[in-house]
Amino acid sequence: MPDETALLRVDSLTVFRGRRKVLDCVSLEIAEGEPFAIVGESGSGKTTLLYAVTGLLAMSEGTVKIRGRRVAALSARERAKLVGLVFQDYQLFPHLSVWDNVLLAPMLHGKMGADRLARRLLEQLRIDNLASRHPHELSGGQKQRVAIARSLVLEPSVLFFDEPSAALDAKTSDELAVLLRQISDRTQVVVVSHDHAFIERACTRGARMASGRVVREGGLAAILDHEPRWTLPR
């Protein structure tokens, strides 16, 4: 019996790219709690899952529900209140300052108290001194924090991270793992990554994908220790 109260529920999700089935009847539930990891090798379907759940990609079959609401039936605006995404390459808006990057969406949505929240977020993420800078003046780690603030200011129920540690050095990567645990009280963090070392520091549970399916779910031990046989030695 599926849990109708699950925060995020993916049910029989199938996605085609051209004629190729890239997601094959994926079902997954994420209850509110610690950061959740979705791991898997390149081509396992984890990025497709991420794009389908955040509404960037049309799904062929199945449903995605967040807080019981079908994502596919929502407008972009309503969807943004439920789910956010921090891109691997951040995708900050280069023509806007940090402050305007964070405030563009809430201003357009007419969100009350957004600037107070934005100020608090910038302080918590320790980028309040960068508010008037433009993206090209920031380091990779700083850009990522701006992208996190830009998503959090909309107060989504779930916030996805696409390969967040890929472009970071070891120290910044450690700091990020700590940060993700910290912001877990604001939103459900879901990390899509194949960086096991990072996952071990940031998350406590997750799912493993392979060939367009969820093959394992549970604690880190269950999803990380068993390497599929086609994986190259690390």
Binding site: S75, R79, P94, H134, L154
Partner: protein, 473 residues
């Protein structure tokens, strides 16, 4: 957020409004009189920049007699009949000889003066029967045919006007010209042209005033007025004003003044800027619409549009100009010279800029639209607040370059009588006969407006690059 750039987006729209609200030519009780303005002493511009000459005075007398006001339109001689037939003008009072061929197309009044074609040669010219003798005539005149048939040995070259022929005679490029005897003598008197009349008159011509074949009423009125004028004391008075005693040559015009010439050039420069900016602004607006259709319209619309853009880019500006100005009246759309010129500049530049706009749009990474989407922005909001502001830096330099090219190319629109810098320079040269000074000065004036624009373009590019908004060159 995007405040410093926002005015840039509004600029084309404002100027397009300006374009559509200004400059509507109405023809009520005025009589639109066409002439070349490069045929002294019959029609030319005096040192004040005003039209003057025998034809002009005759036209004014006729207008007074039929109770209408003269509105003079200066047109190149080779296009003046087309302009009459396209009803851009009502009459031509421009020393047009009555010929059988022309009478098939238009109605001529009785002649208002008689003259004759004369061969003039420069001093030290080679003998006329010799091969390689080079002869100049004005395009669209009766002199062209007579020169070819009477001097079969000579190489006949055609020009836009007598002044241009005289310039080539003086520089030794050609050896002689066939023109009206009175005009040749006037040029000797006025410019010390040193032309030597050679032989008898080649033929005599009777000059009449053509009107559109459907304007029988106007034709009758003018013919009546002309007969009255020729028998009145006003006619010999006008004749004496320009030709005095014919054997003694032609009375010289007023003196030359740099001050008034510069004022006139300055005014014409403003006209050049005005028409270029209006044309380009409308062009940018059109280009954005075109690009949007090329990107998003269904193939049924986008394919023909892509072909249209290629077509405009593959045809000469001059032909497009003539099509709009002379061609459209045939299907009932008559636009003034200024409006036609601005419209063609807009159409021409929009074809180039549409491609630039399209490429600028495509160069914004899809990730930017995805990011806007996950933040809950609608497609319109993403376009206005995320994509368009990033396109502007990519558009600014090509737009400025197109503006510079347009300002330079706008010289062409003088052929449909738009009074701009190049036309003003030619008029000043036709009265002052100082081609070197005025062409150099005109070039400098063009440079004075285009160079700062080029510098501005470079500065904007540097600024955008510093802000991280421009990556590839």
């Amino acid at each position: 957020m995007t405040r410093p750039l926002r005015w840039l987006a509004l600029l084309p729209i404002l100027l397009a409004i300006l374009l559509t609200t200004s400059r509507s030519f109405a023809s009520g009780e005025t009589l639109r009189v066409g002439l070349s303005g490069t045929y002294p002493p019959f029609s030319h511009f005096d040192e004040e920049g005003n039209l003057a000459g025998f034809d002009v005075d005759i036209a004014r007398e006729l207008c007074a007699k039929i109770g209408r006001e003269c509105e003079f339109r200066v047109l190149p001689w080779d296009g003046i009949l087309s302009a009459l037939l396209a009803r851009k003008i009502d009459v031509i009072v421009g020393s047009m000889a009555i010929t059988e061929e022309r009478e098939k197309q238009v109605l001529f009044t009785s002649p208002y003066y008689e003259s004759g074609a004369q061969l003039f040669v420069r001093e030290n010219a080679p003998a006329i029967g010799q091969r390689g003798f080079r002869l100049g005539v004005t395009l669209g005149t009766t002199y062209g045919q007579i020169a070819s048939s009477r001097f079969p040995e000579a190489e006949v070259r055609t020009y836009k006007g007598d002044v241009a022929i005289l310039q080539d005679i003086q520089s030794g490029r050609i050896d002689g010209m066939v023109t009206d005897r009175l005009v040749g003598l006037h040029m000797n008197e006025r410019y010390g042209a040193g032309l030597v009349p050679h032989g008898e008159l080649l033929f005599t011509e009777r000059m009449g005033i053509p009107v559109h074949p459907d304007e029988r009423q106007l034709h009758a009125e003018l013919d009546h007025a002309l007969r009255e004028l020729r028998s009145s004391p006003a006619y010999p008075r006008i004749r004496a004003r320009y030709f005095g005693d014919e054997r003694a040559g032609v009375a010289g015009g007023a003196g030359f003044s740099w001050r008034t010439s510069l004022t006139l050039l300055g005014r014409a420069l403003l006209a050049t800027i005005e028409i270029s900016v209006a044309g380009i602004s409308l062009g940018i607006a059109l280009a954005v619409i075109l690009a949007a259709l090329l990107l998003w319209a269904p193939a049924l619309v986008a394919r023909p549009l892509a072909f249209y853009v290629d077509f405009i880019r593959s045809t000469p500006f001059l032909i497009q100009l003539f099509t709009v100005y002379f061609g459209l009246p045939a299907i009932g759309v008559t636009l003034g010279a200024w409006t036609s010129a601005a419209l063609v500049i807009a159409i021409h530049s929009s074809a180039y800029l549409a491609e630039v706009v399209k490429v600028a749009y495509q160069s914004i990474p899809a990730g930017q639209r995805h990011a806007a989407n996950t933040l809950g922005l609608t497609r319109r909001e993403a376009l206005v607040h995320v994509v368009w502001p990033q396109m502007l830096p990519l558009l600014s330099a090509p737009s400025l370059n197109t503006l510079v090219a347009t300002i330079k190319d706008s010289a062409i629109v003088s052929v449909i009588s738009v009074h701009e810098l190049t036309m003003q320079a030619q008029q000043l040269i036709s009265t002052s006969f100082r081609p070197m000074e005025f062409y150099l000065l005109t070039a400098l004036l063009y440079f004075a407006i285009t160079y700062p624009l080029l510098l501005l373009g470079r500065r904007m590019e540097r600024r955008f690059r510093a802000k991280g908004l421009l990556h590839a060159g």
